[in-house]
């Protein structure tokens, strides 16, 4: 009758888990028929392993569903995390809020050199132009879905939630390619004026200073802030602060 210790040693030998000295000792202890039996068991375990390792790829739908769930969580995190960390988190949040407020102070970049013409159609000068540039129509759900699909995981409130005093309308969005990085451009109308909001990951060095504003005639407002892992830049012939506040 095989002892439990001997049985476990044989198992560890078959699983290649024995130290070298124990392997030598175990192999020396094997006798004729037992040696053959061990080899047969090894072959059986290998066949079992092969069978269990047969391909079973994660269905694409499961992976997409997972990403969607994570996106949903991610959208809530910027607000949830500071409070979850207690006073320390609140202090950090307050600091960030002060810094963010700094960005909202009037930015002299808002009136860039207005003597030149716009070189590209990146900045629509009229509300009517926005409709022509938008690849996704001004449907809130469609725009939010398109942002998520392009891996931009930010919350965007519906316009009517904070439009008091400054009527805001969502006009659509499109994706721009800046090198190997994508930039989302969301079109709004605020108080009858066109506003573009550019959203890009912080890892993308592209910034407001690269907008072709030097070619734009007239006064333009630029507001820039960092949110989570993204840089959002609001540009328009109306102050985009109210529009930027839609994002969290």
């Amino acid at each position: 009758m095989e002892t439990k210790e001997r049985r476990l040693t044989r198992q560890a030998y078959l699983d290649n888990q024995l130290p070298v000295e124990d392997v030598i000792a175990f192999e020396e202890s094997l006798k004729g028929e037992e040696r053959l039996q061990v080899e047969r068991e090894r072959a059986f375990e290998e066949a079992l392993s092969q069978r269990l390792r047969e391909e079973a790829p994660c269905p694409v739908a499961v992976w997409e569903h997972l990403q969607e769930r994570m996106n949903g969580k991610r959208g809530r995190q910027p607000w949830a995390v500071p409070f979850a960390n207690g006073w320390k988190g609140l202090a950090i949040a307050a600091g960030i809020a002060l810094l963010a407020a700094g960005f909202f102070v009037w930015n002299p970049l808002g009136s860039v050199d207005s003597t030149e013409q716009l070189k590209s159609g990146a900045l629509p000068v009229s509300v009517g132009q926005c409709g022509g540039l938008a690849e996704i129509p001004g449907d809130y759900v469609k725009v939010v879905s398109a942002l998520t699909a392009n891996r931009i995981f930010l919350n965007m409130k519906p316009c009517d939630e904070i439009s008091e005093g400054h009527p805001i309308k969502l006009l659509g969005m499109r994706m721009l390619n800046q090198g190997d990085k994508a930039v989302a451009q969301v079109f709004f109308e605020c108080c009858g004026q066109p506003i573009s909001v550019f959203i890009t990951p912080l890892s993308n060095p592209w910034a407001a200073s690269e907008l072709p504003m030097k070619d734009v005639k007239g006064d333009w407002f630029v507001r820039q802030r960092e949110l989570d892992q993204y840089r959002i830049i609001g540009v328009g012939t109306h102050d985009p602060s109210e529009v930027l506040a839609l994002f969290s």
């Binding site: 560890a12 375990e45 079992l48 392993s49 390792r53 994660c58 499961v62 997972l66 969580k73």
Partner: protein, 204 residues
């Protein structure tokens, strides 16, 4: 303590998603449940991302979470509640002759058993099944499995031994009842091997 950011987490998840899914599927044996378990495990990992130290073993960390979720899923569905030890031992009395025949051509034997292998796996406890899957499917060492399962190495070895023993008994019992090892393909292979052995003995 450096932790993973969202992008890094997603990238690692993307890299290992197939093996994670396969592990869960083999553990709960139902595609719908596997999807739920994987989804819950990933969300749990995501919510506790700050607890994962960058540079440590991401796979092992995920397997620990996946195993816990499988354990809960199996307990909830009572899928792994069968205590083989409590069932009539004679049902699993290992037919040594059948077992030896299975050892002669394990690939053909397991192929002949078909989905019965998965049925047999379902009858192991979650601990036995998880240890077995982590070892045979994911190639983890005893020490790594012990770390993932949060149990001593000796307990891992015991789970493995018991799991394998049950698996063999169930498969052999199935094969004997269905005459698998008596099939013609087996008989032919057998005959050839016996002839070869006899020839070797004669030459020597």
């Amino acid at each position: 303590m450096a932790t993973l950011n969202d992008k890094e987490f997603l990238a690692l998840l993307d890299k290992h998603r197939d093996e994670f899914y396969r592990y869960v599927l083999r553990n709960v044996w139902n595609a719908d449940t596997a999807e739920d378990v994987l989804s819950n495990a990933v969300m749990t990992a995501y919510e506790h991302l700050d607890k994962f130290r960058k540079g440590t073993n991401f796979r092992a960390w995920m397997y620990r979470i996946l195993t816990n979720k499988c354990y809960v899923a199996n307990r909830e569905t009572k899928r792994s509640a069968i205590d083989i030890e409590s069932i009539d031992e004679s049902r699993f009395a290992t037919d040594q002759e059948t077992l030896q025949q299975a050892y002669r051509d394990p690939e053909a034997f397991l192929k002949a058993c078909g989905d019965e292998l998965f049925e047999a796996m379902r009858q192991l406890s979650t601990n036995e099944r998880s240890c077995l899957l982590l070892l045979t499917m994911e190639r983890y060492s005893y020490t790594e499995i012990a770390s993932i399962m949060e149990m001593p190495v000796g307990t891992v070895m015991t789970h493995l031994a018991r799991g394998r023993d049950k698996l063999r008994r169930l498969l052999v019992d199935y094969a004997r009842r269905h005459g698998i090892t008596k099939a013609k393909t087996y008989a032919r292979k057998y005959a050839a091997e016996e002839d070869s052995d006899a020839e070797q003995r004669r030459i020597s």
